[in-house]
Symmetry: C2
Subunit: 156 residues, 2 copies
DNA sequence: GCTCGTTAAGTCGCGCACGACTGAATCGTG
DNA sequence: CACGATTCAGTCGTGCGCGACTTAACGAGC
């Protein structure tokens, strides 16, 4: 069995496409003073404000070691505010400041500005998104399942 | 115009799917002592050995500031060897060592091991790869075009 | 109430990515 | 030949991602 050439590997196409998209977003996000992951965090908060770090991590599939420093930078930039929950002192609630909430209007124009140059029509984008989501959940389940099988092997 | 929810954004699906794939590759690549970008560099070299840093960068869409430290680590690990070209002292040729070439056999088993758990069949993977490649080239052209248009505007 | 296991946020180290820059080699044009 | 522009590899600083770890708070069972 031989190695597939780079151009035939789905994993490489995915890796490259993801970087191409963030590269295309970059100049637009620079105008807002945001990085791409910071933009995704704000997307999550615009959709539902006041989530805990844990809940944001679940939505974005990132853990606290990535989110904590990122949120600290967003707080320094005056876009979010963090405070410990009164009912559970372990959790921290992340809330948009007026400034952070105000960016929503400007940010909502971004996808449309990129849509016209991505070489795909709306149907293709929709299908692509669905396929990618299916791929992600399948791989996540396979990764989780690995651990469960290993744990199960210990009992058997 | 309102902001799309996170789950409807193609950019987010791409970002998440890309990380899910590398996460799934990680335990397998750990056995080979490789990171995911290092694996991609080796894929490129297995396909055609003796390329310059510049040529590798074109194939992987990475520039020297990413590749130089990565190649240095591969050289320290004894997988590649670097040497200045005699006919052009600016360029550096990257060659696989016997050890680096030998990893090819073990690495060729990787895609098949992941294929059975990605939740997609071969036709879907093929279509996905083609769509992603089209997306990447379109976005790259748009990004390049931006600069050319700006430069053109100065002449006009 | 106390202990032990669990959970949440955060820190640290490492390896990318990428922009900005440096230094050396090469090329083009006069 | 000279000299300015270009090309190539490499360094540096910043911000992710992520594994391993720490600390504090919660919860269950005794």
């Amino acid at each position: 069995m031989d190695v597939l050439p780079l151009d035939r590997q789905v994993c490489f196409a995915l890796y490259t496409a993801s970087r191409a998209v963030t590269a295309r977003y970059r100049p637009l996000l620079d105008e807002l003073g945001l990085t791409y992951p910071q933009y995704l965090v704000l997307l999550a908060l615009w959709e539902r404000d006041g989530r805990t770090v844990k809940e944001l991590g679940t939505a974005l599939r990132l853990d606290s070691s990535t989110l904590s420093p990122l949120l600290k930078r967003l707080e320094t930039a005056g876009l979010v505010h963090r405070e410990r929950r009164a009912d559970d002192e372990r959790s921290v609630t992340v809330r948009l400041t007026p400034h952070g909430a105000g960016l929503r209007t400007r940010a909502s124009a971004l996808p449309a500005r990129l849509l016209c140059e991505d070489g795909l029509d709306l149907d293709e984008l929709n299908e692509l998104r669905i396929t990618l989501t299916r791929l992600t959940t399948a791989l996540d389940m396979a990764l989780d399942g690995r651990g469960e099988i290993d744990a199960g092997a210990l009992h058997g």
